[in-house]
């Protein structure tokens, strides 16, 4: 068994457990717990006039009912604004249970606790809430128009005006040989993990301590929030993310009302309490993302080189802004992608609507940004009669330009400086992979079969691995087992495998000996969370540094025993040996035993470390500045984010009779620096592409004008099945990051980013009509095709004459 596993396609160690049903998810915990259920607002905007619980009181098995009036101290205050920002001038957050008003359908008003969930729902159904309905604001256009206000004291519905610019855009546009101005839309979707949110709380009345399990992406911060809201000392709260069935961003938002209310009830009732979100609750009470209106003006020369770009975005932030303006910032700063744009200005107005809150969903503002930039490239190519790839190539940042300072400020408050990349390389690989130069033959072949074929492409740069920090702890036990802990959480990314690969490689131990724990504040209390494609970059490097610390200590102790210099030692397969001297060795587990001087021998191995075995009398058992145990804790805190990149292409076939859209080929070139595990990275890409296809062709949140979500079930909210996801062909490029010890960049979100842009481009190429609103469904495409006012692309003019298009 080799121990040099970094970069190898090691099979995911967690899969056997998860696939055969041995995962331990939130709802698997605490079968005897009391169950919570919620009365949620059926109205998008209303005043809560009265709550009558009388009818519920005789439900057998009812334990408690909580309304806002039962909340005290910090719990009666609004939920926190997690990420404040100077431009977030009108932040608003809800309450754990509604106070006076509700601002979206699904907002919690009453918590019912009963002996089981059935009874809790029976009781909840009998609670009568009287509302005075208020006008609902739905969609960015209505928010912008501001005939009604979501929050009375924010009459323009604008929570924040985010603004960045790299120069004076107006003169640059005025001096441009060509300009184009257009408007486009992108709709809401949502993370939709298989497992919804969920919380289980255990109050130990003797110890006065709280243990909370929650399906979260940020257990340390949930812990801090619970301690603050419930007025507990931090050391009396532990928070554990058990196996979590997907997150995709929705579980980085915290503290959710339920994450506070369920522990509050457990303390109050002296009993375990659990709440498991059901799918309808997830649709109407968790978070969505992605709706934006984009007004784009671009200046360019005769060759298609950009001279200036001016973008105005109206971003729907839903009813509240607990997550600040992270998504607007990401859209604003990631919009420029891999292109060298002389002057860029972006203004994002983040607006309130009477809909579910908007917080990051995998991609987090980047799919919208990519859609804006890449559709701009398509338009320039169309106006100039150039190949879409050529226009992109002429604007790419060249390899000689790194580090490339974009003169923007990223979501971590630090400058957007692209650390490394090879964007022309991505483009060259993509064209080969998808057969870009043979597109016309593909089109002819499809035409002969009665289909319309189109190809499209999109490129992106993704800032990954933002700080402030993550930590890692590595400890070798006397058994030889290597315990690894990091504070950030896992939701299926394969951390048990990839982090173990890093430790096995750094320390020189078999991966079988390595056990990884994530998201458990008992094991590692300092962490930020799993989001922004940061786990491998942040915890991966922290764990590598911790492993290097253990290695250094192990070599020091072994050098004493082996009477050699640490520089002459190596560790392989868990054995420390003198390089080139077979037989002069000591197992790492023995080093671990010796690292902890003992008085008491509790087992055979421990005898080696007790006080009457041989030792150097001239030194104390634990030297000054040293510590017992073979363990090390270290942190990685980056100067700034590292920027991954990639290019996608889609080939679509459209049935001109039914307007069904089929993605027949999907090509990905992906660069995330050094790769820990290519199999896991490809899995991330596949999953991302599936969500990209979903966002482009299937998923949307269908709110009506009253703010009622019309498709709040998996019957009507159409996530793609395996049958709708195309085969994905992948090529890798590796441009290591100079910013971190392992040279890696994040890979978690990349797959989803260009989907909407690339597929919109391909559909436009196939049908010759301008696509300005995504996602698009067959019924909408039919409407577009029979609309005489629909804009035809210039590229389609030649093709229309030969009769392909009616």
């Amino acid at each position: 068994m080799t121990t040099k596993l970094f970069g190898e396609p090691v099979r995911r160690r967690e899969d056997a457990r998860l696939i055969v049903g041995k995962g331990r998810y939130l709802d698997d915990i605490g079968h005897n717990a009391l169950a919570a259920a919620f009365v949620r607002s059926p109205h998008a905007h209303a005043r809560v006039v009265d709550i009558d619980v009388e009818g519920a009181l005789d439900v057998e098995g009812l334990v408690a009912i909580y309304t806002y009036d039962d909340l005290t101290g910090p719990m009666a205050e609004p939920l926190p604004v997690l990420i404040p920002h100077p431009q977030l001038t009108a932040p608003r957050t809800g309450y754990s249970l509604a106070y006076e008003k509700v601002h979206h359908v699904g907002e919690p008003i009453v918590m019912v606790v009963a002996t089981d969930r059935y009874i809790a729902e029976d009781a909840a159904e009998r609670i009568v809430v009287t509302y005075e309905e208020l006008p609902a604001v739905v969609g960015v256009d209505a928010a912008h128009e501001a005939r009604h206000a979501v929050h009375d004291d924010v009459p323009d519905n604008v929570s924040a005006r985010h603004h960045q610019e790299t120069g004076d855009v107006e003169p640059a546009l005025a001096a441009s040989p060509h300009t184009l101005t257009f408007t486009q839309y992108i709709e809401r979707s949502a993370s939709m993990p298989m497992e919804g949110r969920g919380v289980h709380a255990h109050w130990d009345a003797d110890d006065r301590s709280l243990r909370v399990y929650t399906a979260t992406q940020a257990s340390t911060s949930v812990r801090a929030a619970i301690a603050a809201k419930l007025e507990l000392s931090l050391d009396k709260v532990e928070v554990i993310a058990p196996d979590v069935g997907g997150g995709f961003g929705v579980k980085i938002m915290h503290p959710w009302p339920e994450e506070l209310l369920v522990p509050m009830a457990a303390m109050n009732l002296g009993a375990d309490v659990k709440w498991s979100e059901d799918r309808r609750e997830h649709f109407i009470s968790s978070a969505h993302e992605r709706q934006q209106k984009q007004e784009i003006t671009v200046g360019f020369d005769d060759d298609g080189r950009l001279t200036a770009l001016d973008v105005v975005v109206w971003h729907d932030n839903g009813a509240y802004t607990p997550y600040g303006i992270i998504i607007p910032i990401i859209t604003a700063t990631q919009l420029i992608g891999p292109y060298d744009i002389p002057v860029y200005r972006v203004r994002v107005d983040s607006v309130y609507t009477n809909t579910v809150i908007v917080t990051p969903y995998r991609g987090a503002g980047r799919p919208q940004a990519c859609y804006a930039m890449e559709r701009t490239m398509d338009r320039i190519a169309d106006v100039l009669g150039l190949d879409r790839a050529v226009v992109r190539e002429r604007n790419l940042i060249q390899s000689s330009q790194f580090p490339y300072d974009a003169h923007l400020t990223f979501q971590d408050g630090r400058p957007v400086v692209y650390d490394s990349g090879d964007y022309p390389g991505l483009m060259a690989k993509l064209k080969d992979l998808v057969g870009w130069s043979g597109a016309e033959e593909l089109r002819d072949d499809a035409t002969a079969r009665g289909k319309l074929l189109g190809v499209g492409m999109a490129m992106y740069v993704e800032g990954t691995g933002p700080g402030p920090y993550e930590g890692g702890h590595v400890q070798v036990l006397g058994s030889g087992k290597v315990l690894v802990a990091t504070g950030l959480t896992s939701q299926g990314q394969g951390h048990e495998t990839s982090f173990a690969q890093i430790v096995a490689s750094e320390l020189g131990v078999p991966i079988e000996d390595v056990e990884v724990t994530t998201g458990d504040t008992r094991r590692f209390p300092y962490a930020v969370g799993t989001f922004a494609s940061r786990a491998a970059v942040m915890s991966g490097n922290a764990i590598a540094l911790a492993a290097r610390g253990v290695r250094e200590k192990a070599l020091r102790i072994a050098a004493d025993v082996l009477e050699a210099s640490p520089d002459d030692l190596e560790i392989e397969d868990g054995v420390v040996q003198v390089k080139g001297v077979p037989g002069t060795s000591i197992p790492l587990r023995t080093v671990a035993v010796l690292s902890n001087p003992l008085r008491y021998a509790f087992d055979e191995a421990a005898k080696q470390a007790t006080q009457f075995t041989s030792h150097d009398d001239s030194k104390p058992p634990v030297a000054p500045g040293d510590a017992p145990g073979l363990e090390h804790r270290d942190y990685y805190s980056p100067l700034r984010s590292t920027f991954a990149s990639g290019a996608h292409a889609a080939v679509v076939e459209i049935d001109p009779a039914t307007w069904e859209i089929d993605v027949v080929k999907y090509a990905v070139v992906h660069d995330c620096g050094n790769v820990v595990n290519p199999m896991i990275v490809e899995g991330q890409v596949h999953g991302g592409v599936a969500q990209g296809v979903g966002g482009a062709l299937y998923e949307r949140m269908a709110y009506d004008s009253d703010g009622q979500l019309q498709n709040a079930s998996f019957m009507d909210f159409l996530m793609p099945y395996a049958s709708e996801v195309p085969d994905v062909v992948i090529d890798h490029q590796q441009t290591p990051s100079p910013l971190n010890p392992l040279g890696i960049k994040g890979a978690g979100e990349a797959g989803v980013i260009p989907g909407t842009a690339a597929i919109a481009s391909a559909i436009e190429d196939a049908v010759g009509r301008r696509i300005t609103s995504m996602p698009i469904s067959p019924t909408e495409l039919y409407d577009l095709m029979r609309n005489p006012a629909a804009e035809r692309t210039a590229a389609s003019a030649g093709r229309a004459e030969n009769g392909v298009l009616a």
């Binding site: 009779a657 019309q710 067959p778």
Partner: protein
């Protein structure tokens, strides 16, 4: 997503089932495959006082095939009908349509008769019952009765059956001589409820000319209907018929609704396209059988 409280009965005989239904009155619902009913319960969109589970009732799980047609018992799962070769020979629409019912997991539990009794106009088998001029047999405390499809379907999710009753079987007529069938759907995702589905039967005369064309659609209209499209192509030789004319006629006969996934106009478009496509395929089959 937990059902409201309900009583549960699992009678061992049909008489017992009817007795429970009689005793419980209008609040009782029959449970067979549960693939539509249980989600409705979980979302509290339905809250029957009593569920009468007929899965233990003997004699309801067979497919009987005769020269006249196929009789499908109330406990026959979609997948059993899908795989029944004898049934497919007598009425090919049965396998062709059940193949479009949802996904394998749902077909393994859901019953064909249950989906008919549910009377969902988005269901494939309600449409096939109509197109094959079928009927159901209903057990009541007063004895068994046969109800033809025209009398059965009253509205969306609504049948003419009232009072204590169990639909014990559905009968689909055999495919007539010199006839062919086809069934096709457009769905947003594979296995979804159809945006539009079409089942057709083409019958030729002895000179291989088109004698009769009938079609029935899925997710079009409030109840299943059968549309006679014969006029558009009658008398045309099977190889020379303009099936698009039948499609165009069909578009004028239907009255679809709009929903989240399709406008009424788009559904009408699909009625035309699917009619044309299925008729071409059904005519080829009819020609083969007529040879």
């Amino acid at each position: 997503m937990k059902p409201a409280p309900f009583r549960y009965a699992d009678p061992g005989t049909l008489d017992e089932a009817l007795a429970v239904l009689s005793a419980e009155g209008a609040g009782a619902k029959v449970l067979a495959g549960g693939q539509s009913l249980l989600p409705l319960l979980s979302m509290r969109l339905a809250a029957p006082a009593t569920l009468v589970d007929i899965n233990r009732v003997p004699g309801l799980d067979s497919v009987e095939v005769t020269g006249d047609g196929v009789t499908v018992g109330a406990l026959v799962r979609h997948n059993a009908l899908l795989r029944d070769g004898a049934a497919a020979r007598v009425q090919p629409l049965l396998a062709r349509a059940t193949a479009n019912v949802a996904h394998p997991a749902i077909r393994n539990r859901g019953t064909t008769v249950g989906s008919i009794a549910h009377a969902d106009p988005s269901g494939e088998m309600t449409s096939v019952l109509a197109l094959t001029d079928g009927s159901v047999t209903v057990a009541t405390p007063d004895g068994a009765e046969t109800v033809g499809w025209r009398d059965l379907f009253v509205g969306p999710l609504e049948t003419s059956l009232h009072g204590p009753a169990v639909v014990t079987s559905a009968h689909f007529s055999a495919l007539p001589p010199r006839s062919g069938t086809a069934f096709a759907e457009v769905a947003r995702r594979k296995g979804d409820y159809a945006v539009c589905g079409a089942g057709v039967v083409v019958t030729l005369d002895e000179d291989r000319r088109v004698a009769a064309v009938r079609a029935s659609y899925v997710s079009v209209g409030l109840t299943p209907e059968v549309h006679d499209l014969t006029d558009a192509v009658v008398g045309k030789p099977v190889d020379g018929a303009d099936w698009s004319a039948a499609g165009a006629l069909a578009r004028t006969l239907v009255d679809p609704d709009s929903d989240l996934h399709a406008s009424a106009d788009y559904r009408r478009l699909l009625v035309g396209v699917l009619t044309e496509r299925t008729l071409a395929s059904a005519a080829a089959e009819a020609a083969g059988r007529a040879a």
